[in-house]
């Protein structure tokens, strides 16, 4: 437990040792705010909710999270420091968990920085707070699932760019599965039950109830089990 904590600490503070972290944070806030204001027309909807922000988050995560997580293992492999790490008294589970939690915490920092939007809607109207908080909770869970994919793909290569591209492609599949355009396409040649079953694997499908103000048990279990599965695969890849 302590080992995991110290790994977490090193990794988390590591983000702030380079200017890259600040660039990422600024880019994330700009993208999140701009998309909900100009694409989602947040101010014109006359609706004091965070819906427009949540709606575009999976698409921002698609680029942002692989960019945050691509270095997790690829960088250790490139610089050779994983040889140092794994000859210290550390188990692969502790190492994977410590690094994953650090990146997840960094993403949490980024998500929290969108609080300016909450203040805006609170100032302009009287929002229904339930969907705001459950939405943020769902966002955090979904970020974990995205990140677990990146952590896993990052362990396959010593090249951060390859890690980024593969991770983006895989997460794109899990977004597309629930995208209405894609499901309509599937329904055109597959039985509706099958198309529905496929859509059940999508991040978007499971994120929706959270945006509507419910903490769905299905969504919670889906995101958590998805994350655990990817991290488990990550441990196996590193042990090979």
């Amino acid at each position: 437990m302590k080992t995991t904590f110290y790994l977490f600490k090193r990794e988390f503070l590591g983000y702030f040792r380079s200017p890259v972290a600040y660039v990422f944070l600024v880019a994330f806030i700009l993208a999140s705010t701009a998309m909900s204001l100009y694409l989602g027309h947040m101010l014109e909807t006359n609706d004091a909710s965070m819906r427009t922000l949540f709606f575009y988050q999976p698409w921002i995560f698609l680029v942002f999270i692989p960019a945050i997580g691509m270095r997790l293992w690829a960088e250790e492999k490139r610089s050779g420091t994983w040889e140092l790490l794994f000859t210290l008294p550390v188990t692969p589970i502790q190492a994977v968990l410590g690094k994953f939690l650090a990146a997840w915490a960094f993403i949490l920092v980024a998500i929290c920085l969108t609080a300016s939007m909450i203040m805006t809607i609170a100032f302009l109207g009287s929002p229904d707070w339930g969907p705001v908080w459950t939405g943020y909770f769902g966002l955090f869970l979904m970020a974990g699932a995205f990140l677990s994919i990146t952590s896993l793909t990052s362990a396959f290569t010593k090249n951060q760019v390859i890690s980024f591209v593969i991770s983006t492609l895989v997460t794109l599949v899990f977004i597309f599965l629930g995208w209405s355009v894609f499901s309509t396409l599937l329904e055109s040649f597959l039985p509706i039950a099958v198309a529905d079953a496929i859509a059940q694997f999508s991040f978007i499908t499971h994120f929706e109830p959270f945006q509507n103000g419910t903490v769905s048990l299905g969504g919670l279990l889906y995101f958590l089990s998805f994350t655990v599965f990817c991290l488990f695969a990550n441990v196996i890849v590193l042990e090979r």
Partner: protein, 240 residues
């Protein structure tokens, strides 16, 4: 203290290490010699548990590296080839992290081992500097400092003087020599004067096989007092 028992490693059809067996006892400084690609680093990586052997096993202080890796890893310090380090950290941050991973969680203990390692490896002057701003010689000393931080009974050093200038080489040799009395040390090198200067045992490995396990004096006596370098060339080209 350090045992290699029939260590074998195959990479595809290439056998990088073939039944490598030896024991290093307390007080021994073993010079591990061989041409490039002979299997020195592979053997060391297997001994430290970084890569799993295809056959055989290693043990440190009686703890099998496969069965009981955490206990075994507590007992040795390892300097990987080309000394990988977390470049973005300062010397002090890096060594503090290593101390934490080694189980020194109490602030006083941490400070004590940190100060000892900084002093021992002459790093006090650069303790606040980030590692990527240091010269090669200093970086190698940081690598050594992390290996000796917990005052382990066993040291496994992969080319500890590689890339250093003659003064730095002498310095590092002196440092290793000063720790030799109560430790079991393996150091790989292809600099033969190094072996003559500091080792009381020598193993020559070629094409993955141990071809000599002796002492420098005995080896010279067996070869009519020739220089170690001539003996090395004779043995390794003969086997080719």
């Amino acid at each position: 203290m350090i045992e290699a028992k029939n260590l074998t490693k195959d990479y595809g059809t290439n056998r990088a290490a073939n039944n490598v067996t030896f024991t290093v006892n307390k007080g021994d400084i073993l010079g591990f010699l061989g041409p490039n690609g002979a299997g020195k680093s592979t053997t060391m990586k297997m001994l430290t548990g970084f890569i799993p052997p295809t056959g055989g096993t290693g043990a440190i202080g009686g703890h099998d590296i496969k069965e009981n890796p955490l206990e075994a890893k507590k007992l040795f310090g390892y300097l990987p080839e080309s000394g990988p380090l977390y470049q973005e950290m300062t010397v002090e941050e890096f060594l503090t992290f290593i101390a934490e991973m080694r189980g020194y969680t109490n602030a006083d203990d941490k400070q004590k081992v940190l100060d000892r390692a900084l002093k021992l490896c002459h790093l006090l002057a650069v303790r606040q500097q980030t590692i990527d701003t240091l010269s090669k010689g200093y970086r190698q000393r940081v690598g050594l400092a992390q290996a000796v931080l917990h005052d382990p009974p066993c040291l496994i050093l992969d080319e500890p003087t590689d890339g250093l200038d003659p003064n730095q080489k002498r310095e590092v040799r002196k440092l290793i020599g000063s720790m030799s009395k109560d430790k079991a040390i393996i150091l790989s090198t292809h600099i033969l004067e190094e072996v003559e200067a500091m080792c009381n045992r020598v193993i020559i490995i070629d094409k993955g096989k141990v071809i000599v396990d002796s002492t420098p004096e005995k080896l010279k006596a067996e070869h009519d007092g020739k220089r170690l370098e001539d003996i090395f060339c004779e043995l390794t080209t003969n086997a080719a």
